[in-house]
Assembly symmetry: C2
Homo-oligomer: 157 residues x 2
């Protein structure tokens, strides 16, 4: 630990912890979702649609913080797998509405064990879980509100 700037030390960085935790989650989900031939982002889209079917690409993106550049190819894959249908909105042809197929709806039951599977991996008490969740959502909000500003170079901490 001979870093001149302690703030740059890796172990102390919240961002790195979140970054590496996201990857750890992703790897765990990869295994758990393998029987359904789903990736974690695809599973997230299905969770959204199970709660409310027939959303537009934009509406799905708003819930998941993703844009069309990510969602369009992802949704095409879900369509190719037979889980969703993509169709232009009759009233507003700019929008594409995503609706579940029978197979997509049936998947909700088939995959109902997934959250428990992940939950067991974490092994947290309910209160602890909810407190952590609140803190993280709060942090995410502050990050998303981040307004880019010029950074001064050569300004030793």
């Amino acid at each position: 630990m001979t870093a001149k700037n302690p703030a740059q030390a890796l172990d102390n960085q919240l961002c790195f912890t979140v970054y590496s935790m996201a990857h750890a989650f992703n790897r765990a989900y990869r295994t758990i979702l393998a029987p359904f031939d789903l990736t974690y982002p695809q599973y997230l889209v299905l969770i959204v649609l199970w709660a409310e079917d027939g959303l537009s690409v934009r509406e799905i993106g708003a819930k998941l913080f993703l844009d069309s550049g990510t969602l369009t190819p992802l949704l095409k894959r879900l369509e190719a797998q037979g889980y969703v249908r993509r169709a232009r909105d009759k009233a507003d042809e700019r929008q594409v509405r995503i609706s579940l197929t029978d197979e997509g709806r049936a998947l909700q039951e088939r995959a109902s064990g997934v959250p428990q599977e992940i939950g067991c991996t974490l092994g947290m008490a309910g209160d602890e879980y909810r407190a952590l969740l609140g803190q993280l959502a709060d942090l995410r909000g502050r990050l998303q509100a981040y307004e880019p500003q010029a950074i001064q170079e050569d300004e030793p901490g």
Copy 2:
């Protein structure tokens, strides 16, 4: 909120919060690191090297939880930018040692304002920050210890 399985609801999911927070961090870093032509993973590699120069690809990967499939092209880009050198270890030619160039070392000073820039964005007290950090690192450990096991389908919660 008509989901049959409440555990599948999006807002309650710790994994989704971590997932979307990681992206929020990434977007914030994209702006902050733009003046240095660095991505966040590239910046992480430099932090590791600033602490300990001359590590092998494998050693860097162990610290960042990344493998050669990710690191090799990333390190080639850092080399192309003139921040690091890649050279086979004389004693063990299987390993490739990564060492900072003068420019790579100088970057540590130039980028010394980055952690503060991110920290301001978060706006947390020190104690709160450390407690959160500890919880997350603990969770990451449990996730990384996850042993894949078969999932039973059709098991309504």
